[in-house]
Structure formats: structure tokens, C-alpha cells
């Protein structure tokens, strides 16, 4: 299915993105741990998923709904870890535009997101800020 990507001009503060869900499969987790060189014993054979992995997958899923033209800059990132995600979980992510501001040549956009796990447990909250060209 082709997702219609929204341009910056089409986004409004308060706008909700369609919820997305994704599965934390073992192959993706292993690939993530390898790519980041994560060697902490917390992740050895426990199936615990690093919070930044959850955030990265949530963000990339959400950005399927937003057109990011060349030159878009990821300015800042907030992350709050509330509970641990584990391999095999299916997570749901909800997100909304929390700020849109044009200031001179800056075209700023903040997206806030929440990632929930089984039984609606909130796992991660975050806010990503971008500057559009």
C-alpha cells in the first residue's frame, strides 16, 4: 500500500498521524545490536530491546507519513523511557504535530510520539524536532 506523504505546508499543530504498529522480531533486534555495537550484558540473551531502537523504529514508521525533502535536519530528540520492550512484542505508536513554526528561513516542526506495548503499557515517549529546507 502506498502511503500518501504529507508536505510541511499540509501539517498543522495538533494533527494526529495514523497509528502505526511494528513487531520487535529477533532478526531486527540482532541487527540493531550489531549495528550500534551494543555489548551491555543487559541485552545478552534477555530479549530486552534498547529504548533507542524502539524510538528509531517508531520514528521511521511515523515518517512514512511525512515528506522529508533533501536538506531536512533532525535538530533535537527527547526520549523518556518508562518501561522495557522485549523481543517479540508488537508495539503501537501514536504521534502528533506539537509545534509548527516558521521563523525567517527556519521551518520548524516538532512531532511528539508515544509507544505503547501490551495492554496499553506506555513504554517510550519522545519528541523529535526537525528543520525543513
Amino acid at each position: 500500500m502506498t502511503v500518501q506523504k504529507l508536505e510541511y505546508r499540509q501539517l498543522e499543530v495538533g494533527q494526529q498521524f495514523p497509528a502505526v504498529s511494528f513487531n520487535l522480531d529477533s532478526d531486527s533486534l540482532a541487527a540493531y545490536l550489531k549495528s550500534t555495537g551494543e555489548l551491555d550484558s543487559l541485552y545478552e540473551g534477555t530479549g530486552i530491546v534498547p529504548p533507542t531502537a524502539v524510538a528509531a523504529w517508531a520514528l521511521i514508521s511515523l515518517l512514512e507519513h511525512v515528506a522529508l525533502p533533501e536538506g531536512t535536519i533532525h535538530l533535537s530528540q527527547e526520549l523518556q523511557c518508562l518501561s522495557m520492550a522485549t523481543e517479540g512484542d508488537t508495539l503501537n505508536c501514536r504521534a502528533r504535530v506539537s509545534r509548527k513554526q516558521e521563523r525567517g528561513r527556519l521551518r520548524l516542526l516538532d512531532i511528539e510520539f508515544d509507544v505503547v506495548g501490551k495492554e496499553g503499557t506506555l513504554l517510550i515517549s519522545g519528541k523529535s524536532s526537525f528543520n525543513f529546507p
Binding site: L42, I48, W57, L59, I60, H74, Q77, L79, C81
Partner: protein, 145 residues
């Protein structure tokens, strides 16, 4: 695999330095991260494309370098980071293949809250030239303290 000794949280005080971490930024890991995160923006993985942009070459994903900051916090505080950690960071400069980044942190404030002791830290990621790649704040809550 393995973990270095965690920070002794019983002796934390304002000014305590966290164990730092060094990471080599290599294109192979950036490519792996693109696969793992499904972020295939060509600025990260297509050297020919990236050479012709103002950045002049590929750069690491910001979220990859942010993962290093989270790793440093995990290495220092263990599981408590995964259940009470907060991170508020700004991406200041790109990290490029060939860079060595150092992730460090300092306790700036200890506060007693209803949930426990809140430990607020400055966190910093710098490249080998001392240029700041990421800066910001991180905090955890030590319950029962």
C-alpha cells in the same frame, strides 16, 4: 560481550563524572544501522550522492549517535536507565565515517522526589577534534534512595 562495572550510585554527588565511552564511526556500521533502522536516507549510505551535497560526504544517522549516548547511560546506570531514563539532546554537528566520538557525562543535580532520587546529568558527545556532535541532559530516578 560484557559490561564494565556500573557506577556506584550510593556515592553519587553533584560533579560526579560518569564512565565515558568511545566509539569509532565507520561506514560499515552506518550501513548496518540503515538496514536495522530501515532509514535508507542516501546522505547516510550513498557516498556518491553525499559527496555532492553541502555535507561533502556521508554522515552517521543522528539516532545512531544518540544510541551511543543511551549506551553510555546504560553502562553507568544499568536497568534503571531503561525504566526511568530521560534524554533531551540537540544534534549539533554530524558524525562522519572515520570519526572517533567520546560520550561523557557529569552529574549536575541530585534531587529528592516522591519517586526517589532524581539524578540529572549533562551529557556530551564530541568527535576527535573536540567538536560537539550531541549535547544535552539525561536523568534517571533511583527509587528507594
Amino acid at each position: 560481550m560484557g559490561t564494565k562495572k556500573r557506577l556506584d550510585v550510593s556515592s553519587l554527588q553533584e560533579g560526579t563524572t560518569l564512565y565515558e565511552m568511545k566509539k569509532e564511526v565507520v561506514q560499515e556500521n552506518i550501513n548496518l544501522y540503515a538496514e536495522a533502522s530501515k532509514d535508507f536516507n542516501p546522505i547516510h549510505i550513498n557516498e556518491e550522492f553525499a559527496r555532492n551535497t553541502p555535507l561533502g560526504g556521508t554522515i552517521a544517522h543522528g539516532m545512531l549517535i544518540l544510541a551511543y549516548v543511551s549506551q553510555m547511560m546504560t553502562a553507568n546506570f544499568g536497568q534503571v536507565w531503561l525504566t526511568s531514563g530521560k534524554l533531551n539532546t540537540r544534534f549539533k554537528a554530524p558524525a562522519r565515517p572515520g570519526d572517533t566520538v567520546t560520550i561523557s557525562g557529569t552529574v549536575k543535580k541530585l534531587e529528592t522526589t516522591e519517586e526517589g532520587t532524581s539524578v540529572k546529568c549533562n551529557v556530551l558527545c564530541q568527535n576527535q577534534s573536540g567538536e560537539t556532535v550531541i549535547s544535552g541532559d539525561a536523568s534517571i530516578v533511583l527509587s528507594g534512595c
